[in-house]
Amino acid sequence: MDKVKSLGELPRAIEPARDLWPQIEARIRASQADAAPAADAGEGVGPAALPSRGARRFMAQPWLAAAAMVASVALGVWIGRDLLSGPRAPPVAARAGATVAAAPGGAQANPAVLDAPTALDAAFVSDPRFERQRAALLQSLQAKIAALPPASRARVLFSLETIRKAKEDLEAALGKDPGNALLQELLINTYQDEMRVLTDVHTAGDTGRGI
């Protein structure tokens, strides 16, 4: 058992004994449903109760909504490994596996296409450290993927292909509406997810540990 010398060394985080998110989500959904009539009357209750003017404009344009949907799928494929790594978090691999099973076409992506940053890359991911890390991880990506067990490899390839598609669609949408903050956020998050996949592949080793 751990010993400490001061109260400041006590762990600040104590994870709950079970995953509380499903119940929180249910309560949020219930409040959203309750808020719908209020939103019609102009009374917001939750964040989604009354969409902002920008959000309404966003949802009114099908191509923007489609890009956002693709990005959401990408985020769902590899959603926050470090954030979901708690003992009660749903296994990421299971999520990704479920998505693979449901997706037509399977995992025949070419990760090399990720190695082609566009002008938008520079605009949204301008931190040189990020670029250096990304370039270094991409350099060894093919070899790392080849060394993975088949199931892990399939998940990684599917994730990378979905992320690539999300980036492509979001960049196309931003080309039509460069000032759309929501699209910019989605693109940034997609880049973060890509980095997380690359990092996980890099650290997984040939056993596919953690994927």
Partner: protein
């Protein structure tokens, strides 16, 4: 090979997640929950000393946070904001059960130092038990100040008490812990 630094990028993208959650994206909010649940639950558990009640408080904290997300200022700390909500929720739950204890304010006393040092290293569990046995007011002040690092002013504001009262509670906590744990304040 350069290793990625997820800790840095996490800070960068938390604001983006908040923005997405504000637009109604529950997936983004779930990611924020995963990031902060442990610290929020730790605070709730230490304030309530009841596992079931702490889970209720944690749930309610995040539901309240979702509802109030539009009012969160992204320049401030999300963690601190969540802690404020958690403290309010925990205090409200406790008030339902019984009257809040009254503590006489002692503003003339010096505030205890920030570092709470033990004369000899102790098991985490033993310390947690000793903290859990403190009276509620003293425990709240101790947990927020000594464990979570909030200043006297911040802790007092969170608890809805005067700063002098918060300092008095810390003195009380120190005295009681000193008896039980050979605690000295550096």
């Amino acid at each position: 090979m350069t290793h990625a630094e997820p800790q840095e990028s996490r800070v960068d993208w938390e604001g983006a997640l908040v923005q997405r959650a504000r637009s109604g994206d529950t997936r983004a909010f779930e990611r924020l929950y995963r990031e902060h649940a442990g610290r929020v639950h730790g605070l709730c558990l230490r304030m309530t000393r009841d596992a079931a009640l702490a889970e209720d408080c944690t749930q309610e904290t995040f539901v309240n946070a979702w509802r109030a997300l539009a009012r969160f200022e992204t320049r401030s700390s999300l963690s601190t904001w969540l802690h404020r909500i958690a403290v309010n929720v925990a205090l409200a739950k406790r008030r339902k059960n019984r009257d809040v204890e009254q503590v006489v304010e002692s503003p003339d006393e010096d505030a205890p130092a920030a570092e709470w040092i033990l004369e000899t290293p102790m098991e985490v569990q033993d310390i947690e038990i000793a903290i859990g046995e403190l009276p509620e007011g003293a425990r709240d002040a101790l947990v927020l100040h000594a464990l979570y690092g909030y200043s006297h002013e911040e802790a007092a504001r969170m608890l809805g008490i005067a700063e002098g009262t918060c300092k008095a509670q810390l003195h009380r906590a120190r005295r009681l812990l000193r008896d039980r744990l050979d605690l000295e304040v550096a």
